[in-house]
């Protein structure tokens, strides 16, 4: 199969060609397909354009090196995004001394109330983006991994280096916090 034909092929097909035919240049197709998405994810966590660009390059190098271990259990995109979140969160934990338990203690959600049937009628998406930047990067990563990238809880837990149960509970807390902050900051202020 020629390079141009492969451009429209599925990710898994391209990976198979890279591995079996040792066609390194085919990786460029995957790079082109996902560069922007990986860059956006890095920036959303790191909040630094230069660093996000450097990390994106590192992540693609890491992904290429690990390509033979890709097992088709999940989609390539889920796998790539798991590597992305893992790389960024590990950096924040190590270099920025990101400490989730401490942050959580200092930012306790005051009194969990019954929220059944209590979702806002209309959601202002710009407001919600503000809220996502107010929460801890680990909670933000959890929410986007699960609800935007459809990554399995098993992969999420591996990527964030926590147990699957801890991932489920933190995800629950992250959703509760977003809803609480959204109401506090935007809905109650407008009343």
């Amino acid at each position: 199969m020629k390079y141009d034909t492969l451009k429209s092929a599925r990710d898994e097909e391209i990976i198979s060609k890279i591995i079996t035919e040792n066609q390194v240049n085919y990786f460029e197709i995957l790079y082109g397909r996902y560069y922007r998405k990986v860059l956006d994810k890095c920036y959303s966590l790191l909040k630094n354009h230069q660093l996000a660009k450097e990390f994106t390059e590192d992540i693609f190098s890491k992904t290429y090196e690990k390509l033979k271990t890709f097992r088709n259990i999940s989609s390539f995109s889920s796998w790539l995004y798991s590597i992305t979140y893992n790389h960024c969160i590990d950096y924040l934990r190590h270099k920025k001394k990101l400490h989730y338990p401490e942050w959580n203690r200092e930012n306790e959600i005051p009194g969990i109330i019954d929220e059944s049937g209590d979702s806002p009628d209309t959601i202002n998406y710009d407001d919600l983006l503000v809220i996502l930047d107010m929460i801890h990067p680990e909670e933000k990563a959890l929410l986007t991994m699960k609800y935007q990238d459809n990554i399995s809880l098993k992969q999420i837990s591996e990527s964030l280096r926590i147990s699957e149960d801890a991932a489920k509970m933190r995800l629950k807390r992250a959703r509760t916090r977003v809803l609480y902050l959204y109401k506090e900051k935007f809905l109650n202020e407008r009343k």
Binding site: Y100, E115, T144, Y147, Q148, R161, M169, K172, T176
Partner: protein
């Protein structure tokens, strides 16, 4: 992005049978904000009780199999705390309750910030330890 926000607010939409739902209200004092998941005919409820996250597993006949509570880091019994703290800084604590006993699942990180999961029984004996 719109999909992300809708999902954050709506959560997952599993609707378990009534006997499964009732098992939660029977076993817990004041469960709120319950999200349901199902896998291999075992229902899993994730909810708050007394402001702590809980996970309870219930079979299709409505029998509570076990439950887990996300604890404050300093809520571990002293003998267990001492054992796990000798291995690193505690980052997450979950208690596991079944019919017979209580055990704990603790995530710690060592001086090199490597993270481990430690499973430890109520007597303070480590039953499993692995690098995350």
């Amino acid at each position: 992005m719109e999909q992300l926000f809708n999902k954050i607010f709506a959560g997952d939409n599993v609707n378990p049978p009534e006997n499964v739902k009732q098992a939660i209200y029977y076993a817990f004092k004041n469960p709120v904000n319950i999200d349901w998941y199902v896998r291999n005919e075992i229902y899993e409820a994730i909810f708050y009780d007394n402001s702590r996250e809980h996970i309870a597993r219930i079979n299709a006949r409505g029998k509570l199999l076990d439950y887990k509570i996300n604890l404050e880091l300093d809520a571990l019994p002293e003998r267990i705390k001492k054992t796990v703290e000798s291995k690193g800084e505690i980052m997450n604590v979950v208690s596991i309750h079944n019919k017979k006993n209580i055990s704990y699942e603790v995530i710690i990180r060592d001086a090199e910030l490597k993270r481990y999961i430690i499973k430890i029984n109520n007597d303070g004996n480590i039953t499993e330890e692995k690098l995350l």
